[in-house]
């Protein structure tokens, strides 16, 4: 068989798999990304067929166990101290050498051992050899390969991330083929009968469940949309006076109630834009030598921003070094346990019986993400004209080109939680699953630069001299907003704003407490610092719509914290290019987030991470359940369910509502084929909010 044909089959089987990011930056994706070509309803059926089969053949379970065992040790770079030998030579090369010694794989048969020995580490060669040996027919190759991937979906997703999405591709670039070769090899060694696997897959079964699911989703959507449209259409937009301050928030659904609370307190104006503030940057810590991208995964970070770190962190680093060097060794852990046991006992008692005290100390000792400061000097490493471009695109995109208030606050956001491996699911999705305070400080500092303002003036954006930009951080768990105002000269004005922000936070917190029926002891402050709390906040649960419109139009409506709000003024966007980019970037991210929540709620076992109470962590990059399992990609049960049986999130598809003329939307859609096709296949509902009639109607894509 020709190599190219085989490669095409392999590519097609990998297309069925959605990528899954490691837990340290949990990026939401549509778990059924591979089925986006199908209509949503059909994809639900395919979902059942590929992922939700209970009667897994026994051979396959054994193959899965071996795969899990080897992949764990191969990809682990942070947990084990005695790592897998030879792994720097690449996956297949290492595994072929070690598999010879693995009795569980070659079943202690001499012919199997000899077979492994004579293989060369060329994935395509191995795949075609095994296919030939098992005499798989040409038309069945694709489905066979796909099945080998979809029967261990979590790991396949992770490999998909490693080979197609990871920024620093070291030696993983043909990993997808190597992995498939490994799976086929195991299948050859253990099962040898692809026909039975394929006939198992093609067995006719009733897919009643997907129908039920689809109906439920539709019901949820109709009820939500009806209510939302009623609110939006029937409000009277009030005239905006000149505002005291303007706030620019992330489009995140948690910003919406906060914005409303701030606006209600006085002459404040708010905007919504993707929370990385159009800065493709990477954040670097000199202290830990770690860096991470702080922008959407669709972008490649071009510039590096340094953190300004405090001294006290050094002492903690010393203690951590002492701890990790003695823990991961032989003999010394015994002395470590004995000599420090007393203190762990003390921590245990304090954390359990005096939580307030422990929170006080942890605030004192640990540097939280809220306090992360930018080293302002590192901003100048971004070329000047790039900085001007970033500033211009941002302001123009949200329609903030005139009527500047004296104070303009950029508000990044992140969650606050302890002892929670899923903590990045609470952070800013636009910042690549990281807290967005850094981006806010950076953009504020760029816009405060008089030279940049002069150039913006030439481009038509006239920022008054007295206007000051301030970076801020919105803690979505406690609703506290922290202003980074050290270098700001308008102290008196800022003090007023701070007071109002505190009030707004209080209002928003009380609403949340009331809506969720929390008792006094479950106050958000307490949740944020409680190491046993599985639900510090609800994250983006209940999200349902993306509203692309000027804020004034939704200002007086209670959207219930369920809408992504992107500020957009079609009159400033003649060629619809801004709208097109809103749809293709924040729109797509909102869709990913929405579908992650949707499928994690629909079936938490196959598209969620399962319960936090039995979670286990492998290699510090992924979650599994219990002793070992497939990588549990998705959100944990506790993020979308109130109890084991009662969901909190309502499963529904994203409704995008755009305030612009019809032709305008059509033009924008032609610029983003991805969104267009998603709308066409009913993965997204697109609505047209007519500026003339103020009515909202379904937009039919053609």
């Amino acid at each position: 068989m020709e190599e190219l044909v085989l490669k095409d089959f392999i590519r097609k089987s990998w297309n069925k798999i959605a990528p899954f990011w490691p837990i340290e930056n949990l990026i939401s994706v549509n778990p059924l990304q591979g089925f986006e070509e199908n209509s949503f309803e059909d994809a639900l059926i395919e979902n059942e067929r590929y992922f939700n089969r209970k009667d897994i053949p026994k051979d396959l379970l054994i193959i899965n166990q071996i795969t899990i065992k080897w992949l764990q040790v191969f990809f682990d770079e942070k947990q084990s101290v005695i790592g897998m030998p030879l792994k720097e030579q690449g996956f297949l090369k290492a595994i072929l050498k070690l598999l010879v010694f693995d009795g569980t794989a070659h079943l202690n048969k001499d012919e199997n051992r000899a077979f492994i020995r004579k293989l060369r580490p060329e994935p395509i060669e191995i795949i075609s050899l095994c296919l030939r040996e098992m005499s798989v027919e040409l038309e069945q190759i694709e489905v066979f390969c796909t099945l080998l991937l979809t029967t261990l979906p979590g790991w396949a997703s992770f490999i998909s991330y490693k080979s197609f999405w990871e920024k620093s591709k070291s030696n993983h670039f043909i990993l997808n083929e190597e992995y498939l070769a490994f799976r086929i090899l195991l299948f050859y060694l253990i099962s040898k009968s692809p026909a039975s696997l394929i006939s198992w897959h093609q067995k006719e079964i009733e897919f009643t469940k997907s129908k039920e699911q689809f109906e439920k989703i539709q019901n949820n959507e109709t009820a939500y949309q009806k209510n939302l449209f009623n609110l939006l259409q029937n409000q009277t937009s009030s005239n905006q006076k000149k505002s005291k301050a303007q706030f620019i928030f992330c489009i995140d659904v948690r910003s919406e109630p906060m914005r409303k609370a701030i606006e209600n307190l006085g002459d404040y104006e708010t905007f919504g834009v993707a929370g990385f503030f159009s800065l493709p940057i990477e954040v670097h810590s000199k202290c830990t030598q770690n860096s991470f991208a702080s922008c959407p995964v669709l972008l490649k970070p071009d510039f590096s921003i340094n953190l300004k770190e405090k001294k006290k962190r050094k002492f903690i680093q010393l203690f951590r070094k002492f701890y990790s060097s003695t823990k991961y060794s032989i003999i010394s852990p015994f002395a470590l346990a004995e000599s420090t046991g007393f203190f762990w006992g003390l921590f245990l008692v304090v954390k359990s019986f005096f939580p307030a005290l422990s929170q006080y100390f942890s605030r004192k000792c640990m540097e939280s993400t809220i306090e992360q400061r930018v080293d302002l000097e590192s901003i100048s490493t971004i070329p000047f004209d790039k900085r001007v471009d970033f500033a211009y695109n941002l302001l123009n995109g949200i329609g903030l080109v005139k009527d500047f208030a004296p104070i303009i606050v950029f508000c990044g956001h992140g969650g606050q939680t302890l002892n929670n491996p899923f903590r990045t699911a609470l952070d800013c999705g636009a910042c690549g699953g990281r807290p967005g305070g850094i981006n806010a400080q950076t953009i504020a500092s760029i816009l405060n630069d008089q030279k940049i303002r002069q150039l913006l003036k030439i481009k038509g954006i006239k920022i008054p001299e007295e206007t000051v930009f301030v970076g801020a951080f919105h803690n979505t768990t406690t609703d506290h907003i922290h202003l980074f105002d050290e270098n700001c000269n308008q102290k008196s004005r800022l003090d007023l704003i701070k007071k109002d922000l505190a009030k707004a936070a209080d209002i928003n917190r009380s609403t949340r407490i009331k809506n969720l029926g929390y008792s006094k002891k479950e106050h958000p402050f307490f949740r944020a610092g409680d190491w046993s709390q599985p639900r510090p906040e609800w994250g983006l649960a209940k999200n349902g719509s993306l509203i692309v419109a000027p804020r004034a139009l939704s200002r007086d409506v209670d959207l219930g914290g369920r809408s992504f709000l992107h500020s957009y003024d079609y009159t400033l966007d003649e060629d619809a290019s801004v709208l097109s980019s809103i749809l293709s970037a924040p729109g797509l991210v909102a869709f990913w987030i929405n579908s992650q929540y949707l499928f994690s709620t629909l079936n938490n076992v196959i598209h969620g991470a399962g319960s936090k109470i039995t979670k286990n962590i492998i290699g510090k990059f992924a979650i599994v359940q219990g002793n070992d399992s497939d990588i549990m990609n998705g959100l944990p049960l506790q993020s979308v369910y109130k109890t084991d049986v009662e969901p909190y999130h309502e499963s529904m598809r994203l409704s995008i509502i755009i305030y612009a003329p019809l032709e305008h939307i059509q033009k924008a859609l032609d610029g983003t084929l991805k969104i267009k096709s998603l709308c066409l296949k009913e993965w997204i509902h697109l609505f047209h909010w007519d500026p003339q009639t103020k009515l909202i109607n379904k937009f039919t894509v053609c």
């Binding site: 396959l60 166990q65 030879l86 032989i330 852990p333 007393f342 762990w344 491996p421 962590i617």
Partner: protein, 454 residues
């Protein structure tokens, strides 16, 4: 065994030969209640929304209560009943969700294991009763009789302890136990598993009279300690890493018993209990933990770190008022402390600097002092029970300790020169062998997602 042990000391408040309040039982109660209550408070919110919430808390309370009574029970029959009850509750707590096949399987595995333990315990107690007509531990100790049947009974008691403390070859259940909810893991690894150590300590004076039995205990303790430690370093799975670590720590504790250091063993299980409970409950934070860096080994660093380790060990033994080069079993603690100090030093030493050496020397003294104090606290508390009897060191001990040091050097080499060792097929074979041995039982793995159930 020329020195006479004062058996009279073990009589404390003995209530009708049923309950006993000696230092060991008091420490054991402290451990059980502190960890139990912390775990219960933790799980109150952690398990929120779980459909078995009430059953879980009811059983957890029963488990703690049972543990408290077990700690102070002296009577064989009551001890036996409470022992079985304790392990049964633990198994139900471990399974938690009976719909999840893998969890049920690991529960079954543990149950089989505990049944074996119960049989051993029953046989041991019956033999004690038939041979000495003793009804309780204190009677057994005070009778002072020696016979083959009694020795067989004592071996059964050792086996019970091995089963409970997951000592090799009874370790599989522990390695396969991570299907249990995190709080259950915490109380299991910090509390229940110590049962073996407590059991041996209850009969300590009898064992101190029988060096051969002590050697058996020592040997198996050391094997577990070695295997557990090496497995721990190989795991990429956090909970399994902790489970292997517990196996190693229990091995060390049992080996301490085997060297006659029952009081040190109690200190170990107490402090390790707090340590492990904390680690399990804070498992969600393990992502933030630093990766251990590769030490850079050269002659200067090795020499300096051995000296620094020596300082640590010297302060340690001096504070405990023991000779630095003792010829009895207390040397094991000194060596441990020396290695501990050297291990820290290896990771902190960078190049040659007098100032750095000086700072580290001060740090070593402080660490050695703190270490000695926490050990001393427990020994002081249990001193009246006469549990520490320094067995003169013999060739058997020495060869075992040598093995231990070799393993230490081996691991240091693997970590410092991984590229060198991995080219040998013998090492590759060893790695695969150990990796396979450290895997949980296959039926307790959730091989396909749809088999998972919450």
């Amino acid at each position: 065994m020329s020195k006479q042990i004062n058996f009279q000391n073990i009589y404390y408040m003995n209530m009708y030969q049923i309950f006993i309040f000696d230092p060991v039982s008091i420490l054991s109660i402290i451990l059980t209640t502190v960890i139990g209550s912390c775990v219960a408070i933790f799980s109150y919110r952690f398990m929120g929304g779980d459909k078995n919430f009430f059953r879980f808390h009811f059983l957890l309370s029963l488990l703690i209560l049972d543990g408290v009574f077990l700690s102070i029970t002296d009577n064989f029959l009551l001890f036996f009943i409470l022992w079985i009850f304790l392990n049964t509750i633990l198994v139900i707590l471990m399974i938690h969700k009976f719909e999840w096949v893998a969890a049920v399987e690991s529960g079954k595995l543990a149950l089989k294991n505990f049944c074996l333990g119960a049989i051993f315990l029953g046989l041991a107690f019956s033999l004690f009763y038939l041979e000495t007509s003793a009804n309780s531990f204190s009677e057994l100790i005070s009778c002072g009789k020696k016979s083959i049947n009694l020795d067989i009974g004592l071996i059964f008691l050792i086996l019970t302890a091995f089963v409970q403390s997951a000592i090799f070859p009874f370790h599989k259940w522990l390695i396969s136990s991570s299907n249990a909810p995190t709080p259950v893991c915490a109380i299991m690894h910090a509390g229940i598993i110590n049962g073996g150590g407590i059991l041996l300590t209850k009969a300590a004076p009898v064992y101190l009279d029988r060096p051969d039995l002590l050697n058996i205990i020592f040997l198996f303790g050391l094997i577990s300690c070695l295997i557990g430690s090496i497995w721990k370093l190989m795991q990429s799975n956090t909970k399994r890493m902790l489970a292997s670590s517990t196996m190693g720590q229990m091995g060390f504790m049992i080996a301490q018993c085997g060297m006659g250091l029952f009081s040190s063993a109690i200190a170990h299980l107490l402090w390790h209990g707090f340590f492990k409970a904390y680690l399990f409950l804070s498992i969600g934070s393990s992502l933030e933990e630093d990766k251990n860096n590769k030490p850079n080994l050269n002659i200067s660093v090795i020499a300096q770190s051995i000296v620094l380790g020596g300082i640590c060990a010297f302060v340690f033994s001096h504070t405990l008022q023991r000779p630095f080069f003792s010829k009895d079993s207390s040397i094991i603690l000194t060596i441990t402390c020396l290695i501990f100090g050297a291990q820290i030093a290896v990771n902190f030493l960078k190049g040659k600097s007098i100032k750095q050496f000086f700072y580290l020397a001060i740090a070593m003294s402080v660490i050695g002092y703190i270490y000695a104090i926490v050990i001393h606290l427990v020994e002081l508390f249990t001193s009246s029970a006469g549990l520490n009897y320094y067995v003169p060191i013999n060739g058997f001990h020495l060869s075992c300790l040598l093995l231990w040091l070799l393993a230490f050097i081996f691991v240091l080499l693997i970590r410092s020169y991984p590229k060198f060792l991995q080219q040998f097929s013998q090492y590759q074979r060893f790695y695969v062998y150990m990796l396979n041995k450290s895997q949980p039982a296959p039926q307790t793995i959730t091989s396909h997602r749809t088999n998972y159930h919450y």
